[in-house]
Symmetry: C2
Subunit: 253 residues, 2 copies
């Protein structure tokens, strides 16, 4: 039996929700996609560098969302954009994609639903979940993010996909629409990302920000986002370090 | 390293997702709301029967959604409907609601975010989660359902609130819009509810159905929904029994 309402006053927590960019920040898309490409190449006898294929497929990602961000194209999910980008990538790399059976092509396209977390992701998220609402703030859609969470054991509390806000980051509605659905003001929401540009967009809208470096997202020759380049609220080595910093902050006020 | 795509063919599982009505089916709203009413009554020295207040507050629930279902009113969340219904209930019961401070009134209204599961709910959901996507299919909105899950340890994989589909059950879009966001055909989604009318709406739209009796939802004098009154796919004693029946079906079917 409750003895009554809590005394009023601001929460001691820095935020109520910690949301995550997923591709690159929580999950290792390069390895997961390259693995699926390799499996298809093996089955069909294709000669292709799976990692190069994955990197080129991903290179189509940002340009493909541009017409939707600008309003020139109706919202479609990443499944559709990934399918278009897969066909374009196969053409670039002279992969005879027409030989792949429809079910296998769909399996390959859904490699983006079956990615694994970075080695620290599940432990860090599990710790954060004890103190905060956690969820993705990703360009992935609900089905993709749900399947990814089941596959990689990501313990999200809530999944608000891009098909809910019908917006792709850095469209302001992707951040603000998500905060609104959680009934939280932007300053009670933190975005954690391995990409400085994503954090800059979130910070501009009033969200709190946390940078986690993922220096091997694109492989050993990565030259971008190796370090924090903005004044973010938290800079962490990995997600458990983010959890330790936020929970320490909560405990000490 | 994956050796390649899975062989094609139908999944052996009866469905991919098992979704739940929440108020009454997963959580005990009557006890939780009565407890908050009692705490407020104690603080303000009000003489009120907390359970009767909770039942009357809930009696406004279905009528309040009608104008939104019919299109006569724009969608608003249950927080807003609950607030209106709270004021109406206080008037009916001669409770001097104007004496309640704004923060306490908000705390009372958000009792619907702080409900506890029935004793079997968490164990049953935890077992189902090992085999199926689980989530609410509720008239609650994302923030309410997220707060409820944190409070009651409900281990949902995904939360698609009424403010995502902007529909209140039994509006067909509440069921079909949720299935669409999961990228599943209706027949790959099961609704579990303690309310035959909810299951009838879902079945009519092609979803699978499971009835779990909650004969004390409204208290000892409850006369409705004591038994399954339709031809549902599963009739279960409680959520662990539902899990046992579905997982047994998966293993043998």
């Amino acid at each position: 039996m409750s003895v009554g309402p809590e005394p009023a006053g601001p929460s001691r927590k820095i935020v109520d929700a910690v949301l995550f960019d997923t591709f690159g920040t929580v999950v290792d898309w390069k390895s997961g996609v390259a693995e699926a490409v390799e499996a298809i190449a093996f089955r069909y006898g294709f000669d292709v560098d799976p990692v190069e294929f994955a990197l080129r497929w991903r290179a189509h990602y940002q340009p493909a969302m541009e017409p939707i961000r600008s309003g020139a194209r109706e919202f479609v999910t990443l499944d559709e954009l990934h399918r278009e980008n897969l066909i374009a990538t196969a053409r670039e790399m002279d992969l005879p994609i027409d030989r792949i059976e429809a079910a296998d092509l769909e399996w390959l396209n859904r490699a983006w639903h079956r990615l694994e977390g970075w080695p620290d992701s599940v432990a860090g998220l599990t710790e954060l979940k004890r103190h905060f609402i956690i969820g993705p703030l990703s360009n992935g859609h609900v089905a993709l993010l749900t399947n990814m969470a089941k596959h990689a054991d990501l313990p999200w509390d809530v999944i608000i996909g891009s098909d809910v806000t019908r917006s792709y980051k850095p469209d302001p509605n992707a951040y603000l629409g998500t905060a609104r659905l959680l009934d939280l003001p932007p300053e009670r929401v933190m975005l954690c990302a391995a990409h400085n540009s994503d954090l800059a967009a979130a910070q501009h809208l009033g969200l709190r920000t946390a940078f986690v470096a993922r220096p091997h997202e694109y492989g050993p020759s990565q030259r971008t986002d190796l370090h924090a380049t903005g004044v973010w609220d938290v800079i962490a080595r990995d997600i458990p370090d983010l959890a330790a910093q936020l929970i320490n902050h909560t405990a000490t006020g």
